[in-house]
Symmetry: C2
Amino acid sequence: MALIVQKFGGSSVGSIERIENVARKVIATQQAGHEVVVVVSAMKGETDRLTDLAHAAAQSNSPRPRELDLLLSTGETVTIALLTMVLERLGAGARCYTGAQVNILTDSAFSKARIQDIDAEVIRDDLSSGRIVVVAGFQGVDENGSITTLGRGGSDTTAVALAAALGADECQIYTDVDGVYTTDPRVVPTARRLDRITFEEMLELASLGSKVLQIRAVEFAGKYQVPLRVLSSFEDGPGTLITMEGDAMQQGSMEEPLIAGIAFSRDESKVTILGVPDTPGIAAQILGPVASANIEVDMIVQNISNDGLTDFTFTVHKRDYDRTLEILKDRAQTLGAREVFGDSDIVKLSLVGVGMRSHAGVASRMFDTLAAEGINIQMISTSEIKISVVIAEKYLELGTRALHKAFDLDEASGKTVAVEGENT
Amino acid sequence: MALIVQKFGGSSVGSIERIENVARKVIATQQAGHEVVVVVSAMKGETDRLTDLAHAAAQSNSPRPRELDLLLSTGETVTIALLTMVLERLGAGARCYTGAQVNILTDSAFSKARIQDIDAEVIRDDLSSGRIVVVAGFQGVDENGSITTLGRGGSDTTAVALAAALGADECQIYTDVDGVYTTDPRVVPTARRLDRITFEEMLELASLGSKVLQIRAVEFAGKYQVPLRVLSSFEDGPGTLITMEGDAMQQGSMEEPLIAGIAFSRDESKVTILGVPDTPGIAAQILGPVASANIEVDMIVQNISNDGLTDFTFTVHKRDYDRTLEILKDRAQTLGAREVFGDSDIVKLSLVGVGMRSHAGVASRMFDTLAAEGINIQMISTSEIKISVVIAEKYLELGTRALHKAFDLDEASGKTVAVEGENT
């Protein structure tokens, strides 16, 4: 008998019929001999409806955060009550709780609160009485008793936090897709579902724009070593298990795969400032005003100094492009820089895989592959399990498909080709 | 400076525009120098929407009560958040609380919970900081932390309970109507709004079918001596103040009015059992099975014994008429009764007024008036401040209008006539 936490998102509970579908999955898990805790989001459309009401009431896009959180929290509360009614109708004993009722204690950062503690006692009592426990995702309560929310997608975090607090054997996140893919199948038709992926890889993929899981949920799961599984609400299947690196090695193929997947982001733009004095603290002088404007900087490249002058290039979100250019042009005068310019028609491609830690040659194969397609690399940034490059936006599909094939990620047929000709 | 609790019902907060109207009334009260606590219901239609969802989920008209209460409570939670946002936008400092957040402690009788205690401390703190406090009506929390509701119209009860806990100077109930009337103006066009009415009279009027106030709220207000005022959300005006008898005397007209109002109920039906042995305990033997079937009996008349046999007549709600007849026919055999029959084409008319305590002749004037219109009285029942008669349904309008005029309740013009010709 295992203890399993299952999380269902808004479209999985978007109607009474869909809630029934969820209830059947939950009951099947219980009948397979497991204890089940279910975390649900608001019914699809409900959060938007409530947000619209709030905007109308406040006549602003930023209604008061304490009241907004209280308002939005009602969405999940509705779902837990309905799911529990359906579970009972289908013959299962069930009990539901709001975040406050199981003391999901958070800080008071309304609309993006962080979970600090969970009192799992009441849930354990219900489970040992044979009940299915239904908990509202996305919401908590601060020490003053005010209702907080964890931000969009926060129900994933609730599920993982509950799994950690209960010492659950697995936390299952049900979504619209049937697992984590090697890359976006809309861009690469031969993309395939991964059976397993490590937390680190998933984190890199999530933060690079893969929308399957909320990044905080993955961090949380990694920190508390909660095995996480992504599966489809609408189809049966094993989904993708997100585990510790060792587990994946142990049960995966003999050889650790080199690359788990390819992520890309269309949200990038880059700005360059040329010919600034290469003195200590110059980076801070350039990036300080950008950070002060609450603009997040992603990749940063500084070229080698030449005649005491150096060049900086960094990327920011496309929405911040104009403002960043403005700030830098302002800054250029003070610093005596030669020129400031930018480009927003770029994308970032990233190879992610714990396997690259122990394999040389990933970077060079990546660069070779892109060169063979005539794709110029504009920036490069690497971390222990990731290599990112910036290329022109028009090459996104071409580059991703070429890399997907070169790194042996294509489905069965593609894989054969890779083994024959290209495996190092 | 007074402390005033104001309650606004579902149609008063049925849209953002209406919520703005409520906010302006509340702010005007504060600007007149008062402290204000506002209690609101769910937006009109919301409770029905949630109830429909629950019925669909449970596939039954009686979903599980704990979950149903949790579900329904979200309706008021939405309203308090929206009203607080609007108040803030209009420049007023405000803070909102769910029932659980101000510890409106109730028993665990879901869907009809009773308030046991309120922790008013947090509200007092807000008030002394100059804030308007907005509290969700209709909902509370039991000692296990489960959310409860007080039953339809329970927001009135919340308002009165808060007023009692805070020692408020007045509890104002805003409704669709501008006060309590001498009778239903749709039946008697000359019906007039009462400036004042006593709690006892209001209780009798409320329990007799006048839908202005929830009866429990009136009981509560009477018990804790909270002055209660019924007024219109949509028009200005003084409404009707519900007070202690002494207050009404002191500030009202020199002479206590004989009758405060006329109530009627179309929901009645009567059943008669003839020729049962007049032995001790016979009433219990007849009414016992009716009570066991959860049928509420209203008026009961037992005729004088004749040859050791007696007759019983009593009234029940029209919806229980068929079942009551069935039960009695069953019972008739055991008791050796001669006959069982009934009539569901009846209404109950009631005169209510604390004035009748000290005035003789109310009953006889009532009977004379009805007789003069050729209306036969089928049953009579009296209490200290009420006389009720059962008459044929077709005489409802005729009887009510005749009594309204005879007891000097008509508007100005009518009143003159009454003073001239009919006042005893």
